[in-house]
């Protein structure tokens, strides 16, 4: 049997062309027994690491049978040149290929690549070329918008093809091949003869390819679908844009030999070709940048010096013995694993932030080490939490550890620019994020290809709450009320399921930086990102991981912005320079506050689920916060670990450790793993460790398991892992139920695994933000508002919470407000005995620009006395004046919203010319008019909501209280104090709607003038009242009060009514026109078809925030 290597394989990283995933290609090629596979995606190397990695895994499991892997790319030119497959012979040639692709990418719009034959000539050294002549029977050249391009530019005329081969062979002697394929086009044999002749004439060997688009023939339909998506046509209109048959799959050597029986040399040539290639991705050597290490010092020595210097600064009263020992141990390990460079590089970035006074904090494996604490990478005190460094810097994984650094979200850009400045654009770039098809996008696109109307696909897509599910479930399809049996819809859904997880384009990672010593574009192609002066590589973090390259995540975190702003406000009064490490630790008042679930605005624990957990968990120490952060996560929830942990913590259940049967190992083998969490696995690494200890996974396998979970839709591998883990544990005597739960938990971690170290970093920010909220409520609210958008709550809730904590909040005013929210009142905070007042800033006013605020503050050398005075001195245009009047900002000059608006209207539209100042003023002064009707308070409140999204004057619900009381509805506060099991009704404005996980339960948070009420809607009820649950702004609920022992109250809904229209009562608009003289019977109520309404009126209250 003749060996065969397939050299023209397209994966689904040739977006919307290839229809198989890299791992599918790898395993099918192995099954067929191909001697080698060459991956050649269109002008890209984006998929190669995945194929390489899959083959590596196959080779590990199934020794020796995996095909060799050849890295290549299919060069697609912008002129009429046919496609050319390029394969680098050696490492240097690989660098040329990367630079060739980089050149093309930098020239193109985002995501594109414009190559010319000249580029090829420039970078051809060491590359092997296979020319793929285009077939006349091919669809029109893809890429150029379909059908527009004529068929004339097809190069198949002998002369053209021969000329190309000759000129390419002159350029790259002995490195050019001519590809032939037998795809059952009707004239295959004829073509083959023709190509043989050309190859002889041009003295270029003929080589067999099957120009593969998918791994098995059964993928043809999906390939047709992606073609339709790509070309924006439907299956019915695509016609010959689609392939005529299903032949472009991987074929066995026998089949290829049979097809090429008249030209066996072409098959043998694939072996000669692959033997010429010596390059493999293993040869990529990563070099750390040299900048962080001063000349004349070894990296290790520098790290040691920096660490001890830092430690001395951190522990001003002497480094504790334990810390000293830990540091020594860690430094030794870092040296042994040759990682000093890595820590120095991270330190370098953190140092830049320190110089700029930008708050940052590291997290991730290794971040919470004593060394990182000393280096200032984290502020989590190693004495406060006992994290084993070895656990994160594994000896087995020869990969650098993972450290993410969060920066203030408003200032991260400065850091990024500094990194570019320090390392240069050719050595620093962002990693890619592979944007994949998600349920919504998949069904929308596939639906279009099937010719479903936009309405139907939109309905199907919107029926999917939460876009993280990996499959469109029947239930979700029904939620959109589509019969899944309906053949067309069912079919579209089946394909959407298949398409899900396919990459659709590459995007820049928000902050994952790759830094190197060598030119980055000789390691991987680099392309421009959407943002100017931003570049990103073609590989994502998994690829980088697999290759052992270093990456630092430079991320943005809103809470750090808020904390820095709060620190500044506190410093203003107390003069205490605070930083993340200097906030007093373990303050019992802070923990008391959190135990009461008084956590609005506090980092992480402010979510509904976290707020429910707080009174149950009752955190008393820092480590409790670490657990609090980690426990309300899909992992522990899906693994059903939450309740066991809570029971044990409250002493209702004895703490015991699951154990194997005695013959298999010591009964306490899990104590070391689960000791800190009372025998219940909560953190990601505990689950992994469980796999190793209890199910006897090798560390490599455990790592494979982690990776399989993180990668989207690895259905096949996950099942084999499940089997191995569950059966492994059961075999060793563990209870099956426990084993199953552990695996569920790992599944739950998915790509959002939450290791202890992450939890610790987050817990630190939880503590600090809670400390600020507890002791400085005004500063906290002010900083929170000034850092918006961030967090969970709208400004209205933040303001309400601040007022409930005794903070006086003052309305925005032209004579008092700045752009930012500010604090007014006593400077000496604690002495005054009460918090300072919070003055709302102009930034709270919808659509008012910062420039207007600056103009106002600049012109405010003395108080403004009238609108005319204000307009003249600030030179603001009428639109800005109207916005200020709408927001009721003229209170200090004695004008309410209505009067101010009426006066502003009189001002000329443009900024007044100084010459006419006097004239303007006199004109305004002369007018004498009857007073306007007084605006009722309820309408003032509504208008506040429309412009500020909050009101200090009242709450919409209070004006409807009488109405709802008549219906027996209680206030939210009354519900909160209701008895368990009591039947009750309430009504309120919908604040948040959430559907966590897959259970189908919807949580709705209602609010009124007394507080909030938590409503639970079970799926059965949701089914009946879907419209009300999903569509209401004002919701009436009837149900049963459920009160937990910890005092958490839910209203379990039984009936829900949309009462949004009642909000119209708040406006004085509510009147009906009088019917006149005519005695014609009144026609149908014209309501529902009113004339156009201003958007402000339609949106009576700000929309609720819906999380999925």
């Amino acid at each position: 049997m003749s060996a065969y290597a397939e050299l023209a394989i397209t994966t689904n990283f040739s977006f919307l062309r290839g229809a198989s995933r890299p791992d599918e290609i790898a395993s099918e090629a192995t099954r067929l027994g191909l001697s080698a596979i060459g991956i050649a995606d269109r002008n890209s190397l984006a998929g190669v690491v995945r194929v390489w990695d899959s083959l590596r895994q196959i080779a590990r499991q199934d020794e020796g049978n995996a095909p060799r892997f050849l890295v290549g790319s299919r060069l697609v030119f912008s002129g009429g040149t046919p496609d050319i497959l390029a394969y680098p012979r050696d490492r240097k040639a690989y660098g040329n290929l990367c630079r060739l692709l980089t050149a093309g990418k930098l020239r193109a719009e985002k995501g594109g690549c414009i190559l010319s034959f000249d580029d090829l000539a420039q970078w051809q050294e060491g590359l092997l070329f296979i020319v793929v002549p285009s077939l006349k029977t091919d669809p029109p050249t893809p890429g150029t918008s379909h059908r527009k391009r004529g068929r004339k530019d097809k190069v198949e005329a002998h002369a053209d093809l021969k000329a190309l081969l000759v000129s390419l062979a002159t350029l790259a002697p002995g490195r050019v091949w001519l590809a032939a394929s037998m795809l059952h086009k009707g004239d295959d044999r004829h073509r083959l003869k023709k190509l043989s002749r050309i190859s002889r004439e041009a003295s270029v060997p003929l080589i067999a390819i099957n120009d593969v688009l998918y791994h098995v023939a059964e993928r043809r339909p999906l390939q047709d679908v992606v073609t339709c998506i790509r070309e924006h046509v439907t299956l019915d209109t695509a016609g010959t844009l689609l392939e005529a048959n299903a032949e472009r799959h991987l074929k066995s050597p026998e089949e290829m030999a049979r097809l090429f029986r008249s030209a066996p040399d072409a098959i043998e040539e694939t072996q000669r070709f692959s033997s010429r290639i010596a390059f493999s991705l293993d040869q990529l050597r990563y070099n750390y940048p040299s900048e962080p290490v001063p000349a004349g010092k070894t990296p290790h020595q520098h790290l040691v010096d920096l660490t001890w210097e830092g430690a001395a600064r951190r522990f001003r009263y002497g480094i504790p013995k334990k810390v000293r020992e830990t540091i020594e141990k860690e430094l030794a390990l870092i040296a042994a694993l040759d990682l000093p460079h890595y820590f120095l590089t991270v330190h370098d970035i953190v140092r830049i932030a320190g110089e700029k006074k930008i708050l940052c904090q590291g997290r991730g494996s290794a971040a919470n080490s004593a060394v990182c604490y000393a280096l200032g990478i984290t502020a989590v005190d190693p004495t406060q939490i006992d994290l084993l460094f070895e656990r994160f810097v594994s000896q087995e994984r020869k990969e650098p550890p993972d450290i993410d650094v969060d920066f203030e979200h408003e200032r991260r850009e400065e850091i990024i620019q500094d990194i570019y400045r320090r390392y240069g654009h050719d050595r620093a770039a962002l990693t890619a994020t592979v944007i994949c098809y998600r349920p919504r996008s998949a069904i929308r696109e596939v639906g279009k290809a099937f010719g479903l109307t936009e309405d139907v696909t939109a309905a199907l897509a919107s029926g999917v709450w939460g876009s993280w599910g990996s499959e469109l479930k029947d239930k979700e399809v029904r939620a959109g009320k589509f019969d899944p049996e309906n053949a067309l819809v069912a079919r579209a859904i089946a394909f959407a399921n298949e398409l899900m997880g396919f990459p659709r384009h590459l995007s820049q990672h928000p902050g994952g930086f790759v830094l190197t010593q060598d030119r980055l574009d000789t390691i991987v192609p680099v392309g421009p990102a959407a943002m100017e002066d931003r570049w990103f590589i073609e590989w994502d973090k998994d690829d980088i991981d697999a290759l052992g390259m270093m990456k630092v995540d430079v991320l943005a975190l809103g809470m750090l912005t808020c904390i820095r702003k709060a620190f500044a406000l506190i410093g203003d009064v107390d003069g205490k320079p605070l930083d993340l490490a200097r906030v007093p630790r373990e303050d019992p008042e802070v923990y008391d506050m959190l135990c009461k679930a008084d956590a609005i605005g506090v980092f992480q624990v402010e979510s509904r689920a976290q707020m429910n957990m707080l009174p149950r968990l009752k955190p008393k120490t820092f480590y409790d916060l670490v657990i609090e952060v980690a426990i309300v996560r899909p992992g522990p929830i899906q693994g059903d670990m939450v309740h066991p942990y809570l029971r044990r913590r409250s002493g209702q259940e004895t703490i015991e450790f699951p154990s194997p049967s005695p013959m298999h190992g010591p009964a306490d083998e899990l104590k070391a793993v689960l000791g800190k969490t009372l025998g219940v696995p909560l953190f990601q690494e505990q689950a992994m460790k469980l796999a190793i200890v209890a199910a006897r996974f090798t560390p490599d396998e455990a790592n494979g398991l982690r990776r399989a979970m993180a990668t989207f839709r690895n259905v096949g591998t996950i099942d084999s892992f499940r089997e191995k883990m569950v059966e492994g544990m059961v075999e060793r005597g563990y209870e099956r139920d426990f084993a199953e739960r552990c695996f569920h938990q790992i599944e739950g971690f998915g790509s959002y695994g939450f290791p202890e170290s992450h939890a610790a970093s987050f817990a630190h920010l939880v503590y600090i933000s809670a400390w600020i909220k507890c002791h400085y409520p005004a500063e906290f609210a002010c900083a929170l508002l000034n850092s918006q958008p961030m967090g969970f709550y709208a400004p209205a809730e933040i303001v309400r919470d601040a007022r409930e904590h005794g903070v006086e909040v003052r309305a925005p005013d032209i004579n008092h407000s700045d752009w930012d929210n500010t604090l007014e009142g006593a400077k000496i905070y604690k002495d005054a005995g009460f918090p300072r007042a919070l003055r709302l800033g102009f930034r709270q006013i919808d659509s008012l620009g910062q420039s207007a605020a600056i103009a106002i503050v600049a012109a405010r050398d003395q108080p403004f006395t009238s609108i005319a005075d204000f307009a003249r001195r600030t030179s603001l245009g009428r639109p800005a004046l109207i916005l200020l009047a709408e927001a009721d900002c003229f209170g200090s000059i004695g004008l309410d919203r209505r009067e101010a608006l009426w006066q502003v209207r009189r001002l000329s539209g443009k900024a007044p010319l100084p010459l006419f100042d006097a004239q303007n003023q006199s004109e305004l002064a002369e007018e004498e008019t009857a007073p306007l009707p007084v605006m009722p308070e309820s309408e003032q409140v509504l208008a506040d909501y429309q412009t500020l999204r909050l009101s200090l004057k009242g709450y919409p619900m209070q004006y409807l209280r009488a109405l709802f009381s008549r219906e027996g509805a209680k206030s939210c506060a009354e519900i909160q104090n209701g008895k368990d099991g009591e039947h009750a009704r309430t009504a309120g404005v919908v604040l948040v709607r959430q559907m966590p996980g897959t259970a189908g339960v919807v949580f709705v948070t209602l609010s009124d003038e007394t507080g909030i009420a938590n409503v639970v809607v079970w799926p059965r009820v949701l089914e009946r009242f879907r419209g009300a649950v999903m569509g209401s702004r004002l919701l009436f609920v009837e149900g049963k009060i459920q009160r937990s022992p910890e005092g958490i109250v839910h209203l379990v809904s039984e009936r829900l009514v949309d009462r949004t229209h009642e909000l119209e009562r708040l406006s004085e608009d509510g009147f009906s026109p009088r019917i006149h003289e005519g005695d014609i019977p009144p026609p149908p109520d014209p309501r529902g078809a009113p004339a156009h309404r201003h958007p402000r009126d339609v949106r009576i209250l700000p929309k609720s925030r819906d999380f999925h």
Partner: protein, 516 residues
């Protein structure tokens, strides 16, 4: 023409649910009467409700609401995409129908304005007339509201907000005072400003001093107010659908004889042709409108495949058309006006592309036009190549007149100097044959068709064509086509139905066509 204020009477009609009424009235889109119906359009990249039927409005769905929200609330909602053209067409038709009440009909937003000055007495007075119009329209399943006033602005405001009102001359201000400001159809920003000021009705706005308003609002706003209050007047502009070009001839003495009519037509054609020539245009649709002295109106239209301005050709087309009429043009007491309307004109150069022999193509086009004028557009067909791999779907017959100007988007492929890939004669139904061939995909060696045995001397293939999987519930077999030649030199197109082993164990064979 100046009219004296107060003398005019305007009847305003509002059809608030025109789009949904249109869909309900249509037979093609039968929506169950119980199902709430909405019409949606893409606004700011989201599908939003633009019209609702009565049932949908009762479910508290709102115009402008995103469809996704509406669906979340009312899953059984029936949704149709908006078709403003169809709405406009329907409104035109309603306006046509209103012609019988008064010739002065103007299009309004979602409604009509009828100048009924001096006409109401023909219909039993204003009240009866309004009732008659609205109830006749209601019988036609239109939701409709109407009102009558001395100014268009007042009438339309009342029709929307106080339907049925008939305002006595000069009493407009009183009648509209209680209506909301929105009735003035102001710019939303201005309407909002009035409401914020607490001036929520037209009356409240009107009560403020003119100077006070004038200092705050643009002139147009005040004008609208004045118009509504009956303080000013603006004539309605009667709707008239203007043809691209129009020539007409009024006869002092009505013409009766065919010769006279023909002569008049020819003269009109010539003058039309002159104008067309100046513009470099040709006509694709031409209408001749014959106005009979007794008021009857008859209209004949002809279509041409290519823009043309040849008067003789056009006249011949009209002749063909006249000859083919089942109910002949009856001049009665004669036509006093004949009008030619060029309804559809195009630049004439557009035609001549792509064909070597322009003249023969012109003759073919003329032949098609004549045949179509006589036998009907749908009975003169031509084959149009289709963009598909499936052989039997490669050509469809379409009306010849319509297909000609269509872009020839797809030309069948054939390489130069190569034998044709597709047979000259393709069977409607492939016929089964018995074949001797090598598996899995060898060419036929011999085959028996209609009892005759053919030995294959040459074969080319296979050309493998997979069927359109999305069209069939169970997959149809893939075909391997061969072009074969038998010992007598006859050429056939055969295929194996189904891939050996992959799809079937014993593939069947068919003959699908004959090469010349």
């Amino acid at each position: 023409m100046v009219r004296i204020l107060g003398q005019r009477r305007i009847l305003a009609l509002w059809l608030p649910r025109l789009p949904t009424d249109r869909i309900r009235r249509g037979k093609a889109n039968a929506v169950g009467p119980e199902t709430p119906l909405v019409v949606v359009a893409k606004i700011d990249n989201a599908l939003r409700l633009v019209a609702l039927d009565e049932r949908a409005s009762r479910l508290s769905l709102k115009k402008g609401q995103p469809l996704a929200d509406a669906r979340a609330m009312v899953p059984e909602l029936s949704v149709i995409e908006s078709d403003p053209k169809a709405d406009a067409k329907l409104l035109e038709a309603v306006a046509d129908w209103c012609d019988r009440f008064t010739p002065f009909v103007a299009l309004d937003e979602d409604g009509l304005l009828l100048d009924i000055t001096g006409a109401s007495h023909l219909f039993g007075g204003e009240k009866t007339m309004l009732l008659k119009i609205t109830s006749l329209m209601a019988k036609q399943h239109f939701a409709v509201q109407g009102a009558i006033a001395g100014s268009a602005m007042a009438a339309r405001a009342l029709a929307r907000h106080a339907p049925g009102t008939i305002v006595a001359p000069g009493k407009e201000a009183v009648a509209i005072a209680p209506l909301p400001v929105a009735a003035l159809a102001l710019d939303p920003d201005i309407a909002h400003a009035f409401r914020r000021a607490g001036l929520k009705t037209i009356g409240q706005v009107a009560s403020r001093g003119r100077a006070e308003l004038g200092a705050r609002f643009v002139r147009a706003t005040l004008d609208r107010l004045d118009l509504a209050l009956g303080r000013g007047e603006r004539p309605i502009s009667p709707r008239r659908k203007l043809p691209d070009l129009m020539v007409e001839h009024r006869f002092a003495e009505p013409v009766i004889t065919e010769d006279a009519i023909s002569a008049a037509l020819l003269a009109l054609m010539h003058s039309l042709a002159r104008v067309l020539e100046e513009r470099g245009q040709g006509v694709r649709r031409l209408a001749a409108v014959f106005f009979r002295a007794d008021g009857l109106r008859r209209e004949l239209t002809v279509d041409t495949a290519r823009p043309t301005r040849d008067a003789k050709i056009l006249l011949r087309l009209f002749r063909e058309r006249l000859d083919a009429l089942t109910d002949p043009l009856d001049p009665g007491f004669g036509f006093d006006l004949i009008r030619l309307e060029a309804r559809d004109t195009e630049r004439e150069e557009q035609v001549a592309q792509g064909f070597a022999d322009d003249r023969s193509e012109k003759e073919i086009a003329f032949l098609i036009d004549r045949l179509a004028a006589r036998f009907g557009v749908n009975r003169v067909l031509r084959f149009l190549p289709q963009d598909t791999h499936i052989p039997e779907a490669a050509a469809v017959a379409v009306p010849a007149q319509r297909s000609l100007p269509a872009r020839m988007s797809f030309a069948p492929k054939q390489e130069k100097k190569e034998p044709p890939r597709r047979p000259l004669r393709l069977f409607d139904h492939p016929e089964p044959i018995e074949v001797l061939a090598e598996v899995p995909d060898g060419p036929p060696r011999q085959f028996r068709w209609r009892r005759a045995l053919h030995a294959v001397t040459r074969a080319e293939g296979p050309e493998r064509i997979a069927m359109e999987w999305w069209k069939h519930a169970t997959p149809k077999p893939t075909r391997d086509y061969y072009r074969v030649e038998d010992e007598k030199g006859a050429r056939f197109w055969l295929y194996r139905d189904g891939l050996f082993e992959r799809e079937t164990i014993k593939p069947r064979w068919y003959i699908h066509g004959l090469f010349a």
